[in-house]
């Protein structure tokens, strides 16, 4: 009964979403206020029924209803309750349900939080979002119904959730990632509405910005969680593998970052308008592309869902309609939203444009690398397989990011419209000298080795970080006191600086870990030891240990620092009893300046084992940097100016128009 209720709720949500896709849009074109106003109750209805459907699936999981095929494939009576709930989105059908629920949630949030939006714009935005919902609901009901029953041969026991997914990080990771992916649908819908109406002004940019920031923040957290999971769960000590599934989450993030900056320029200066619209379309399109790549089996990855060409075909059609349609609309209507203001040399606009281009080129690089195996096959035939690995991505992506980091520092000090070179040099000369000198001296003092890459990374990180501090110092200089000055700065300004500081921290983390990590895979007999830097690792041996649902070979490794006892570590190899799967459980001692990482390899007889020991400096800073970026995103959303009344927005529009006309 409950699964049928869920199925029925999905059908009702589809009906309501169809109405929402048609009536507000038609109303907006014909000026029918009543039809436009329908968008609010309808979006609430879609959300309620999606929530109901999700609840029904969760109920079936929690009550071990194995007559539901999806539950039988992904759960088990022995699974802890928490994982039973998380198993709802553990495979294709359920995760698609979560995807659409999140889409409905964003839609509902826009309808209740955008009270100040002119009704005709809101109506169009909501219609576009409903259109996407309709497409995905048809896809779900037609090819991937999570409520499908097996009433004749109901299994007595479920097949269990993939043990790799039985982990806290990986249960939170998909919802966060989807919040980010789907969140870009809001900016996308705003862009379509702008193309349809031809109205793209400062107010439009101001409405779009907090939604874009919110989606970007979720995506940042989602990607960081995924990378953290890979680091502690896979037991290889790596945190980013340039795997296709990682890449498809990274591409919308990069374009989203470009969009955030481009929106800022559009709001402040009324330029880059058609570029902004294109980025908004691209960010969501890349999210959809990601959904397609993960769910169609076009590109193989360890994280991919089960392969099904029929599903792939339907998804491809959806992609054609949504992305193809919006890009075609863009081609026809972009001249209508063209910006009119001009900007001169060394202006902030110009530097932001540079950064935008670098971000887009990086995205294109990753897209090419991700699709390259497919391209290669299409040209040379199926017998010629290639896989593009980290060497390609690192060679191209790292220098691009170095250039971007440099311009990031410059653009903070540049001014809108025009900046004199003299002004830039006055501000940046000392900073440049300081960061270059410190960037060379600090690594030399600490390691006594000359490592140009690490020095460059250090210099770039300092360049950004010192720039952030200097800019805040300068902006507070003319106030009565520094505290007054700090108070007078807006939250969106602090958000920006926080996120930029995050970039500096991330750069340091990534580069120092890559260059200074020491990784040893060594066969160790009992009481044999291995010295890495200040640390001596003494392998004490392996004992069998029973866990709640596994048997583990648990190693004991005593760590001595400078000859004195420091701590004991217990990396394990666990065999899970239900499926017989073996998993490596690394033991990581997380520290602010370095992590100690130990993992157990294979037994080599006479009590000896292959032991993997890494000392990874600054690896924690990778996630600290991501956290700072996300915190910056949240801080910027909280800025008061996004919640000012409509009266002020309307007043602001002609003022900008006038200013533009005067220039």
């Amino acid at each position: 009964m409950i699964p049928e209720l869920g199925h029925f709720a999905l059908i009702l949500a589809l009906c309501l979403a169809s109405l929402q896709a048609v009536f507000p849009m038609v109303g907006a074109h014909s000026g029918n206020t009543l039809w436009m106003q329908l968008c609010r109750p309808l979006s609430a209805g879609v959300w309620v029924f999606m929530l109901l459907a999700f609840g029904c699936l969760a109920y079936s999981f929690l009550h071990d209803d194995f007559s539901v095929a999806y539950v039988a494939r992904n759960s088990n009576t022995l699974l802890p309750v928490y994982y039973k709930f998380a198993a709802v989105w553990g495979a294709h059908e359920g995760s698609l349900l979560l995807w659409v629920l999140i889409l409905a949630t964003w839609g509902y949030a826009v309808s209740i939080l955008s009270r100040d939006l002119p009704l005709d714009i809101l109506a169009r935005v909501m219609s576009v979002m409903a259109l996407i919902t309709v497409g995905f609901l048809i896809f779900m009901l037609g090819t991937s119904n999570p409520f499908e029953r097996m009433l004749l041969n109901t299994p007595a026991e479920g097949a269990d959730l993939n043990p790799l997914l039985q982990d806290f990080g990986l249960t939170v990771h998909p919802p966060m990632l989807y919040m980010g992916y789907v969140g870009f649908s809001v900016a996308f819908s705003f862009a379509i509405a702008a193309l349809l109406t031809g109205r793209l002004d400062a107010a439009w940019a101001r409405w779009t910005r907090p939604w874009t920031n919110a989606a970007w923040t979720f995506l940042t957290v989602g990607i960081a969680l995924g990378s953290w999971w890979a680091y502690y769960e896979l037991g290889w000590g790596g945190w980013w593998f340039w795997d296709p599934v990682e890449n498809v989450s990274f591409m919308p993030w990069l374009v989203g970052t470009a969009l955030i900056h481009s929106l800022a320029v559009t709001e402040k200066r009324g330029v880059f308008k058609s570029w902004t619209v294109l980025l908004a379309i691209a960010a969501f399109s890349l999210s959809l592309l990601g959904a397609f790549i993960v769910r169609s089996g076009v590109i193989t990855s360890v994280h991919a869902f089960a392969v099904d060409p029929e599903r792939g075909m339907v998804l491809l059609t959806l992609l054609l309609l949504i992305i193809g349609g919006s890009l075609f609309l863009y081609a026809l209507r972009a001249p209508v939203v063209k910006g009119t203001a001009t900007y001169g040399g060394y202006s902030r606009e110009l530097f932001l444009l540079f950064n935008n281009i670098i971000l887009v080129v990086s995205t294109a690089t990753i897209l090419l690398g991700t699709l390259f195996p497919l391209i290669h096959e299409a040209i040379y035939g199926e017998a010629n397989k290639v896989s593009v690995g980290p060497p390609y991505f690192n060679t191209l992506f790292v220098p691009l990011m170095a250039v971007m980091a440099f311009f990031l520092g410059v653009s903070t000090f540049s001014r809108w419209k025009r900046t004199s070179l003299q002004h830039l040099w006055q501000n940046l000369g000392k900073l440049l000298t300081a960061s270059v000198v410190l960037g060379i001296v600090i690594p030399l003092l600490v390691t006594a080795h000359f490592n140009p890459s690490a020095m460059l990374a250090m210099a770039l990180a300092l360049w950004i970080a010192l720039g952030v501090v200097a800019d805040i110092w300068q902006k507070t200089a003319n106030k009565a006191s520094r505290v007054d000055g700090l108070r007078s700065l807006s939250l969106s300004y602090y958000g920006m600086q926080l996120a930029h500081l995050g970039v500096a921290v991330l750069i340091l983390g990534v580069c120092l870990t890559s260059h200074y990590s020491i990784e040893e895979d060594r066969r160790l007999a009992p009481n044999e030891s291995l010295t890495i830097g200040d640390y001596e690792f003494v392998f004490k041996g392996v004992e069998e240990r029973r866990g709640p649902n596994y048997i583990a070979d648990s190693a004991t490794i005593d760590v001595l620092k400078d000859g004195e006892f420091y701590l004991t570590m217990h990396p394990e190899k666990r065999r899970y009893l239900a499926r017989g799967d073996v998993q490596t459980e690394a033991d990581i001692q997380v520290g602010f300046f370095r992590d100690l990482f130990t993992a157990l390899g294979d037994p080599r007889g006479e009590g000896a084992w292959v032991v993997r020991i890494h000392v990874k400096p600054f690896v924690f800073w990778i996630w600290l940097g991501a956290f700072l970026m996300a915190a910056g995103g949240i801080t910027a959303i909280l800025d008061r100016r996004y919640r000012t009344k409509r009266v002020r927005d309307e007043a602001a529009v002609p003022a900008v128009g006038l200013k533009t006309a005067l220039e």
């Binding site: 076009v298 792939g312 001249p335 896989s387 294979d602």
Partner: protein
């Protein structure tokens, strides 16, 4: 090119990509490039199938070309594949076949090879599937070509028959011989 028509570039680019993805959908997804291709065979030391006290390690797979076949008695396609492997291994004298018995019942595996013939020069047991994880095996059967330097050159998912051997394996073997 006029400014107007430049605006169609994103749409055109997208359509090309869509065509590529459409092509991708039509492919047989069992031919998968592995992350391990062109990387060294993972280090391992596993008990021999016919003598538990003896270990076979990756160091023994150094001289010559090796075909590492991951199989199990519980896997129906492996039963289909077995006669082909026997035939091919008799024909291709310069290639060493290595059988990795994957998460299987060791007794059943021994009987299987004793009764139906043993195509493998080395037989090792991967009872806990650890070697399978290191190789990135998704299921059985899977087959890896390892060259004389111990580098994995190709990964095949699914059954090897005469056609697959002639069309896929022989060209690669010709390259590395």
């Amino acid at each position: 090119m006029s400014n107007r028509s430049k605006l169609f570039i994103p749409a055109a680019f997208f359509l090309v990509m869509l065509g590529l993805l459409f092509y991708g959908l039509g492919r047989d997804p069992s031919h998968v490039p592995s992350a391990l291709v062109n990387r060294p065979l993972p280090e391992f030391s596993k008990p021999a199938l016919f003598d538990e006290n003896q270990n076979i390690s990756s160091d023994q797979l150094r001289d010559g070309i090796f075909i590492v076949n991951v199989w199990a008695t519980w896997c129906p396609p492996c039963h289909v594949e077995h006669p082909y492997l026997l035939e091919i291994s008799k024909r291709e004298k310069d290639v060493n076949f290595v059988g990795v018995n994957y998460k299987d019942d060791v007794k059943a595996a021994r009987e299987f090879l004793e009764q139906r013939g043993n195509p493998f020069k080395f037989n090792l047991v991967d009872l806990d599937g650890r070697l399978g994880i290191d190789l990135g095996v998704a299921g059985a059967p899977e087959t890896f070509i390892v060259d004389a330097t111990g580098t994995i050159r190709y990964r095949h998912v699914g059954v090897i028959d005469n056609k697959v051997w002639a069309e896929t394996f022989e060209p690669i073997l010709a390259q590395i011989r």
